[in-house]
Symmetry: C2
Subunit: 149 residues, 2 copies
């Protein structure tokens, strides 16, 4: 396992971001970063807040700090967010390679996938409209294998 090594890289990027913006490396930001890094699931500000409150007895972090830190991380592309129909917005750590999501409307499960050809076609479409891609979102909604019973 090279998880710790990966975390160091993630942490390094974060410190670089802080340096570049004259921001400070605080205990709170460290805890948030760690918790995000260790999250296997997609999370909301609220769920992150709850998880930290539960697992990290040493420190209280206000919900406002969670929001402020997530904004920073999103702006710096260290986390990405995906929006759902009605139920709001979930985040995930930007540690993985690019991928898209299949979302089960029945159980809420998220399946990640990546298709090179689709990616290329998107670029082709954008080019045709002289549109400069920054990012893209693709979600397939439906019913997962397990829920099709």
């Amino acid at each position: 396992m090279n998880n710790n090594e990966n975390y160091d890289i993630f942490l390094g990027r974060f410190k670089e971001v802080l340096r570049r913006n004259s921001l400070k490396y605080t205990k709170q930001r460290e805890i948030i970063l760690q918790t995000i890094y260790n999250s296997t699931e997609h999370f909301t500000p609220e769920s992150l807040y709850g998880e930290i409150a539960q697992n990290v007895s040493e420190s209280k972090i206000g919900i406002a700090t969670i929001y402020r830190t997530l904004s920073l991380l999103e702006k710096e592309n260290m986390v990405t967010s995906i929006s759902f129909g009605a139920n709001g917005k979930k985040y995930e750590a930007g540690t993985k390679d690019h991928h898209d999501h299949m979302i089960c409307d029945s159980c809420g499960k998220i399946i990640e996938f990546c298709d090179e050809v689709i990616e290329e076609l998107q670029e082709k479409v954008a080019l045709k409209h002289q549109f400069k891609i920054i990012d893209h979102v693709m979600q397939i909604h439906g019913i997962c294998k397990e829920c099709q019973d």
Copy 2:
């Protein structure tokens, strides 16, 4: 122009929805449906509310009614909604053929497009995971031609 004819079809679908759910055809629902149908832009509940207040002097429609009607229409697939990074959610009338969106992060403009091949590839990916597609969302974020100055 066959706009009126198309509106009649749209209205017909709506009346059918009402009938099926034992709901009633009211002045408010009529006005909302018309306004949605005539909207060229994507809209929010708030913007719809404002537009109706401005254009339709005869009648006051409460914001709650807008929300209630939009929920109904979305449930019945007569409007679709797309979610944006942070700024919430916009709707569009479900009168057009399927298409996806390119969204300019600078000016907010929305360009619609449709690529058959991408659609097919999505189905192929879903099939591989035995995932049953209900719907899908694809957004390309970036900077439009005009804003690239």
